[in-house]
Point group: C2
Chain length 217, copies 2
């Protein structure tokens, strides 16, 4: 039986965002100290061995702070390090295949930006949806945006936690909160990449976002 | 209990070698008809979903012809399609991790070009070694070459089948055979990429290589 997951401030990694001299391990540790509740290790440019070794290192940090660690795309890396789960996009292994390989106790997230994708993810056994990009983003250039009306339709269509992702930072967060509020829809959390990892003070950036988000709740 | 594996003519895929208008599925089918005894699906440029779908398709072909199919690098894809095993390089998941994830009954091959790598692979539970590049090759530009003296030292150091790989084609095969013979060392098979997949008549190319190789045995 899995513990409930706190999706409120979800850190997705991208090493290219890190300021010079800051290691990913150090940034993740500081981000968790600042209030990050869930971490996804996303490594699109590492070979499998380096990804595995990075994942082992980040797992040690997350485990010590009792924050779940998910692996982007690579179910084998998740199995190899006994991560808490995976996050799969529409170009990754189908969620039902990931579920079959990982078993019932692991967390599986799916990126969705249409109602059809959201429904399919629920059918496939997903635990939550990453929905976006809610704003245009520099960390994923090919990410298409999702408007709030679609977000609201997805919310009504499936019974899964929904995390907003894409271009969320201290400046855009109030807009997201206003838009959600106007549409009468809630999100279970926000996923953040560069607004935390690109900050000079990682811990403070996470703490500020956490406070802004909780104020909205 | 696994069946013994015939390593004599081992096809490693690279879609970029295919002549225009020939699908990988068709080429693999013809290569098996020509005498290929083992297939490794190597896809370095596909996303996970496309790799998975390609692997499912190639598995159907291999299974119908009773030829084992191994997956390069991606243990999760191998698990997802219930492939016969994986082939891992020195930058992929360690072989002992692959063994843990795949279980005792799957085939695990490891790329090795030093005695230390060969010994480690054996310790980690590998079933065979891919040794090369025995010649410079266009399909893997970063592959360093292995001389026959090293090949012979590896042969003496470990008790695993050894498949020669790298730049093997109808022209270079006699040189390899002469070099092995002069050094008094044998190989369990040859792994071939472009000499089969790049041929206009895939089946004939495989049949010719098979005949040359068996003549040497």
């Amino acid at each position: 039986m899995r513990k409930p997951v706190d999706y409120s401030l979800y850190l997705v990694t991208d090493q290219s965002c890190l300021p010079t001299g800051i290691s990913l391990a150090n940034a993740v540790e500081q981000a968790i100290a600042g209030g990050v509740t869930l971490v996804q290790l996303r490594e699109k440019n590492l070979d499998s061995r380096a990804f595995f070794e990075q994942a082992l290192q980040i797992k040690t940090i997350c485990q010590a702070q009792h924050v779940p660690l998910l692996i982007n795309d690579r179910v084998d890396i998740a199995l190899a390090i006994d991560a808490d789960g995976v996050h799969v996009g529409q170009s990754d292994l189908p969620a039902d295949v990931a579920r079959r390989l990982l078993g019932a106790d692991k967390i599986i997230g799916v990126s969705a930006r249409t109602v059809a994708q959201a429904r399919q993810a629920q059918t496939d056994g997903a635990d939550y949806l990453g929905v976006g990009a809610v704003f245009a983003t520099h960390t994923k250039h090919d990410a298409k945006t999702v408007d709030i009306a679609t977000f609201a339709t997805m919310r009504a269509a499936v019974d899964l936690p929904m995390v907003a992702i894409g271009g969320i930072n201290a400046k855009t967060l109030p807009t997201l909160q206003n838009n959600l509020s106007t549409a009468g829809v809630t999100a279970d959390g926000i996923a953040v990449v560069s607004a935390i990892l690109g900050a000079v003070d990682t811990r403070q950036a996470a703490a500020d976002l956490k406070q802004s988000w909780l104020t909205y709740q």
